[in-house]
């Protein structure tokens, strides 16, 4: 029983670690996560600005229970109205007694997470001027255009079929 208790207690430590991880995740909400370190190019300083998304989830569970009379416990089958195996020694009598405690405990946990980042703009600072140059994600736009066209063609096709009928 002590071993099982130790195992479950170790899982509690894991919850603490998971909560620490969650607190570390929340540091992504700081501006430092979005704006990069300034890069010096001559007199000019360049900063990248990105969009960052991160998520995390975890779960833990533990439980235990006692065996019903009639269930196998400690290698000895206990019958509803007493032991089915006639004990020969005092030790066996103790093991096979219907009042003997038989219980078990177990625990487990799991989690997952993900993060993504995408550049949004580049900020260029010179001693005379500040410029914000947007970063255009052509792949994402192309995918959006293709899905938009597909949706429009589907709708027009459906409209044509409806008007024919």
């Amino acid at each position: 029983m002590d071993d099982i208790r130790e195992f479950v207690t170790a899982k509690v430590d894991d919850i603490v670690e998971a909560k620490d991880l969650l607190n570390r995740l929340l540091t992504i909400a700081q501006p430092q996560a979005v704006f990069g370190e300034p890069i010096e190019v001559g007199e000019q300083k360049v900063i990248t600005a990105s969009e960052v998304t991160a998520g995390l989830g975890f779960g833990f569970g533990a439980g235990g229970g006692a065996a019903e009379p009639g269930e196998a416990k400690g290698g000895v089958l206990v019958a509803q109205n007493g032991p089915s195996v006639v004990p020969e020694t005092d030790e066996e009598t103790e093991k096979a007694s219907p009042d003997a405690e038989a219980s078990g405990m177990g625990g487990g946990g799991g989690g997952g997470g993900g993060a993504s980042g995408r550049p949004v703009a580049v900020i260029s600072i010179t001693p005379n001027d500040v410029r914000v140059v947007p970063v255009v994600d052509q792949t994402r736009i192309l995918l959006a255009v293709l899905s938009t066209l597909a949706a429009i063609f589907l709708m027009l096709g459906k409209l044509r079929r409806m008007t024919r009928n």
């Binding site: 998971a18 969650l22 995740l25 929340l26 992504i28 909400a29 700081q30 501006p31 430092q32 996560a33 979005v34 704006f35 300034p38 007199e43 000019q44 300083k45 900063i47 600005a49 990105s50 969009e51 960052v52 998304t53 991160a54 998520g55 995390l56 989830g57 975890f58 779960g59 833990f60 989690g111 995408r118 949004v120 703009a121 900020i123 600072i125 010179t126 001693p127 005379n128 001027d129 500040v130 914000v132 947007p134 970063v135 255009v136 994600d137 994402r140 736009i141 959006a144 255009v145 938009t148 949706a151 429009i152 709708m155 027009l156 459906k158 409209l159 409806m162 008007t163």
Partner: protein, 92 residues
Amino acid sequence: MAGQKPIMDWQKRRGETIAVGEIRVTPESRALTVRWPQGGLVWNQPAAIWVQRDGEQKRVPIINITRAIVWSLYAGVALVGIACMLRALQKR
């Protein structure tokens, strides 16, 4: 419940100021934080930069052009869909 963090938080935060010559630039980000007992989600994006020059301060917004284009396309599809539905109803 004292000291407990809110479940949902939408905040604007300013970063460290960067100085180049007479110009001082302070970045600003906005972050959405959703937190539940066994997890959390953070969405952080650049909002603007504050440019300080000759004693004047000006806010320069950072526009996410990709997102603007993508959402415009989706809005266009939604409008076309509504137009198609209305036309179909009229013809019936």
